[in-house]
Amino acid sequence: MTGPRLAILGDGVEAWLFAALFRQLSRRFGTLTVIPAPPAHASGTIALPPVVAGAHQLLRIAPAALAAFGRPRYGMRIAGAAGAETLIPYGSYGDPDEAGNLADAWIRLRSEDRAPALAGLSANRALMSGGLLGPEPDPRLLRSISAGWEVDADRYRSLLKDAALSRGVLCPAVAPDSVEADILIDARETSAGEPGWHGRRLSIGSASRRWNSPEPFAIAALLSAAARLATLLPRHGAMPLLAREYNRLLAVELAGMDSASAMLVRLAGRDAPSGTLDRYEARYRLAGLLPADPQPWTRDIWLSAFDALGWRPRRYDPNLDRFDGDRSTRRFDAWSAMIAGQRRGSA
C-alpha cells in the first residue's frame, strides 16, 4: 500500500458517506481510516439531494435497499408564513432527451401571459402531491423524474459503513490520538473553521453549519469534496498547491449554494441579502434568463423558484421566435396530459 495516510474524524452519515465514496474513487491509494469521534452521530431522518444517486450507483447501493428505510424525495417543501407551503420540484419540465428546452418555451409563454401552470408540467410535482406512477410509466416521464431521499439516518449510516469497510476503509478500535495521519479529514458538524483544506486538515463537516436550510446542501458539498479530493489526491511536496486548487473550486461551489440557500429563505417569506440573487432576479425579470453559473440547482429548479416568488419575465430569448409558439402550447398540453393520465392510471 503506497500513498499518504488519510484519517476521517466522525462517525455519522457524513463521515461514512465520504469514506465510502472517496475510497471508491481513489481505489487503493494510500490508507483511509475512520476514527469515530464525538459528538455521537445524529439519529432520526436525514435528507439526501438528488445528486446522491450518482454516489449510490458507484457504491452499488440499489434504490430498493434504501426503500427499506426511506422514501424518495421529489422536491423541496418550504414552509412560509401562516402555514403556507411552497413546493419546488426536482426533475425537469419535459423529457430531457427531447430537443427544444421546455423551460425556455415556458418563459416565452409566461412573458405573453399564456403559460400553463408550471405545477401541471412536472411529474416530480405530481409525485410530491401524492401521485403514483402507474405500472408501465412512459419512459419520457421517467426520464424527467429526479429524486433525492429521506432516510433513517442510523440505518443509512450502517449501510454506508458496510460499503466503506468492504472497500478497505479501516476503523480500528483504538484511541483517536493513536492514529497517525498525513491528512485529517474532519467530518464532524462541530469541526472548527470554514470548510476547506488548510494545511494538513480538511474540514468537510462544518459545511452543514453554513446554511440553515431544509435542503441538504452540505451533503451535496460533501459528495463534491470526495470527488475533488480524489482528483487532487494528496501527493508529496505539492500539498499547498493542491489545497489552493481544492479551495478555489470549493469557493465556486459554495457561492452557488449560498445563492440557492438565500433563495429558499426568500421563498419562506423572509429577507435574505444576496447580490448574486439580485442579479439573477434582474436578468430573469428583464430578459427571461435563467442562471447558468456553476451551482447546485438545475435551470428548471430555478425556474420553479422564480415562478413561486411571482416573478414574471418581461421578455424572452428571441431565438425562440424561430419556433412556433403554438407548437410549444401543444407540447405543454401533451406533456401535462401525460402526467395527468399517469395519475389517473395510478389511482
Binding site: T231, G237, A238, L242, L289, P318
Partner: protein
C-alpha cells in the same frame, strides 16, 4: 427599460464581423426581427487575417442557415483539424494542437497522467486522431455515432475572409439587410440621453437607428472614438503589436491544419486554402524592425506572392465595456488578441450569439448591457491566459523569448502552470474556452515536465496500460489510413453536391 422598442439596427463596418452580424440579425424571426442596415466604406479595407477558425464556427453557420457546400465552394474554404506549432519549444521541434482529445480516460484518469507515469508524454500527439490525420494530410468529417473513434474529434475551416464577407453579404441582403456604401464622417449623440442618434455619411447623407453595432475594426469608430470607452491594454503580457500578411500560390497538397512557426520575435501563420495559401508574420516591434519582419515572411512562402504584403498594427487588450447605451461592439472594435489560436472569429461568434439572446427589442436596459459586458470580458480573459501560455514555457533563446518568459503573467495563469508543474493536474478556469486536451497539447508540446502525475496512475499494472495505449495508437493509425486525402475529399464532396438534382 429606456425609450422605445428597438427596431432599426445600423452596423458600421463591412468586414467579417459586420457581415456575420448583419446575417445573424437578419435571420432573427418575427415579431422581434429588426430592420438591419450595414454601412460600409469602399475606401476602408478590411483586415482579412481571420482566415482560420475554431469548430464553433460550424454552430454559427448552422444557426445562420449557411449551406456548408455553398460556403466551402464560395469561400475557397478548406477543412481544419488543428494547428501545428513548429519551432515553438525550440528550433526544429514541432507539436500539434488538434480539435479532439488524446483518447478516453483510463481508469478514471486523463491519458496524460498514464503517459507521464510511463515517461511517454513526448508522444502525446500519437494519441490524437485529428493530429495524426492532419499530419498525414487526410480528412473526413467526424461520425455522429458516439461509439465510433471517428466521433472523438471536430473540425473547423480555413477560408478567404474577403470571400466569406462577400458570401455573407449575399446571404444577408437576400435575407433583407440593407447595404449602404459610404464613409462615416460624423456621429450625432442625443443631447439628453447620450445615445447615438444618427451617423453622417459622405455626400451629405445620414442614417438614423435605434441600435448601432460597431464593427469598424481597430478604428473603433463608435465605441472608442465617439463614446470614449477606455481600452485595457494587455501589451505588457502580449507585446506583439504588428503583422505582415500576404497570400501566395498554393501547392498540390492542401494540409488540413494551420501552421504556426515561431521566429525571432514572434511567429508566422500559414493557412492553406483551395486556391492559395494565406501567410502572415506577427511580431513585436520592440524586438524586430518592420523590414526584417517582412523579409522573413517573404523568404518562407511556398509559392509566388500573389499581392504586395500588407502591414497591420494592433494592441492586445479590450475596451472596458462592449455595450454602452445603444452601441454594441463586435469584433476588433471591442478588443484584439493575436490570432495564435484562431480566436478572432470565435469572439465575433460569441458577441453575436449574446447580442441575439439579449437583443433589446423591448427597449434598452443596463441589465442587458452588463450581462453582455460580463460575458465578453470573461471570454477575453480566458483566451488571454491560453495565448500567453504559448510564450511561457519554450526554450528559445532570443531576447524576445527570454523577455516573454521573464515578464509577470496573470495570477490565474501562474497558478495553473505551477499546479501542472508539480502535480500534472490541469486546472480549467473557463469551461467555455479551451478544455483540458487543448491545455495538455500546449503544455506538453512546449516541453513542460511535471514532477509528478496522479498517484492513481501507479495503481494500474504497467503492462496493461502499455497494451491499452498501443492499441489506441494502432486504431488511430488504421483509421487515418482509411481517410481520404484532404484535397481529394474536398473535390469529391463538392462534386457530389453539384451532382445532386
Amino acid at each position: 427599460m429606456t425609450g422605445p422598442s428597438i427596431r432599426r439596427v445600423v452596423i458600421v463596418g463591412g468586414g467579417t464581423a459586420g457581415w456575420m452580424t448583419a446575417l445573424a440579425l437578419s435571420r432573427m424571426a418575427p415579431p422581434h426581427a429588426p430592420v438591419v442596415t450595414l454601412v460600409e466604406s469602399p475606401e476602408i479595407g478590411t483586415v482579412g487575417v481571420g482566415e482560420a477558425t475554431l469548430p464553433t464556427i460550424r454552430h454559427f453557420n448552422r444557426w445562420a442557415n449557411i449551406d456548408e457546400h455553398a460556403f466551402v465552394r464560395e469561400t475557397q474554404a478548406t477543412f481544419k483539424l488543428g494547428i501545428e506549432f513548429r519551432d515553438w519549444r525550440a528550433p526544429g521541434h514541432s507539436f500539434f494542437h488538434g480539435f479532439g482529445d488524446h483518447g478516453p480516460d483510463i481508469a478514471g484518469l486523463s491519458p496524460h497522467h498514464h503517459l507521464l507515469r510511463l515517461g511517454q508524454s513526448e508522444a502525446l500527439d500519437a494519441y490524437s486522431l485529428p493530429a495524426q490525420a492532419a499530419l498525414a494530410g487526410r480528412f473526413q468529417p467526424p461520425s455522429d455515432d458516439a461509439r465510433s473513434l471517428a466521433s472523438t474529434y471536430s473540425y473547423a475551416y480555413h477560408f478567404d475572409a474577403s470571400l466569406y464577407a462577400r458570401h455573407l453579404r449575399h446571404l444577408a441582403t437576400e435575407a433583407g439587410a440593407g447595404h449602404v456604401q459610404g464613409r462615416v464622417t460624423d456621429v450625432d449623440l442625443d443631447g439628453e440621453t447620450g445615445l447615438i442618434a444618427r451617423l453622417h455619411l459622405d455626400g451629405e447623407r445620414s442614417i438614423e437607428g435605434d441600435l448601432f453595432i460597431d464593427c469598424s475594426g481597430f478604428r473603433s469608430l463608435l465605441l472608442g472614438q465617439t463614446l470614449g470607452v477606455p481600452f485595457d491594454d494587455w501589451s505588457h503580457w502580449l507585446p506583439a503589436d504588428r503583422a505582415w500578411a500576404v497570400p501566395c500560390a498554393g501547392i498540390d497538397a492542401i494540409e488540413p491544419y494551420t501552421r504556426s512557426t515561431a521566429g525571432v520575435a514572434g511567429w508566422r501563420w500559414r493557412i492553406p486554402l483551395q486556391h492559395r495559401i494565406g501567410n502572415g508574420h506577427v511580431y513585436a516591434s520592440a524586438f524586430q524592425d518592420d523590414q526584417t519582419a517582412v523579409d522573413t515572411l517573404m523568404a518562407h512562402l511556398d509559392g509566388e506572392a500573389l499581392a504586395e504584403p500588407r502591414q497591420l498594427r494592433f494592441k492586445a487588450g479590450h475596451r472596458q465595456r462592449f455595450w454602452v447605451g445603444n452601441c454594441v461592439s463586435i469584433g476588433l472594435s471591442g478588443g484584439f488578441l493575436e490570432p495564435l489560436e484562431s480566436t478572432s472569429i470565435n469572439l465575433i461568434e460569441r458577441g453575436i450569439s449574446l447580442l441575439v439572446q439579449l437583443f433589446p427589442f423591448a427597449g434598452l436596459d443596463p441589465v442587458l448591457a452588463d450581462e453582455y459586458d460580463r460575458s465578453m470580458i470573461h471570454a477575453f480573459a480566458g483566451i488571454r491566459d491560453f495565448i500567453i501560455l504559448h510564450y511561457r514555457l519554450g526554450q528559445r533563446t532570443e531576447p524576445f523569448w527570454q523577455a516573454m518568459r521573464d515578464q509577470p503573467i496573470p495570477d490565474s495563469l501562474a497558478e495553473q502552470i505551477e499546479l501542472f508543474g508539480q502535480t500534472g493536474e490541469i486546472s480549467i478556469r473557463d469551461p467555455e474556452s479551451f478544455g483540458e486536451p487543448s491545455w495538455a497539447a500546449i503544455l506538453f508540446g512546449l516541453g513542460a515536465k511535471p514532477s509528478a502525475h496522479h498517484p492513481g496512475a501507479d495503481l494500474e499494472p504497467r503492462g496493461a496500460i502499455e497494451r491499452h495505449l498501443a492499441r489506441g495508437r494502432d486504431l488511430i493509425a488504421q483509421h487515418v489510413d482509411a481517410m481520404p486525402h484532404h484535397r481529394r475529399f474536398i473535390e469529391a464532396w463538392l462534386g457530389e453536391a453539384e451532382a445532386r438534382p
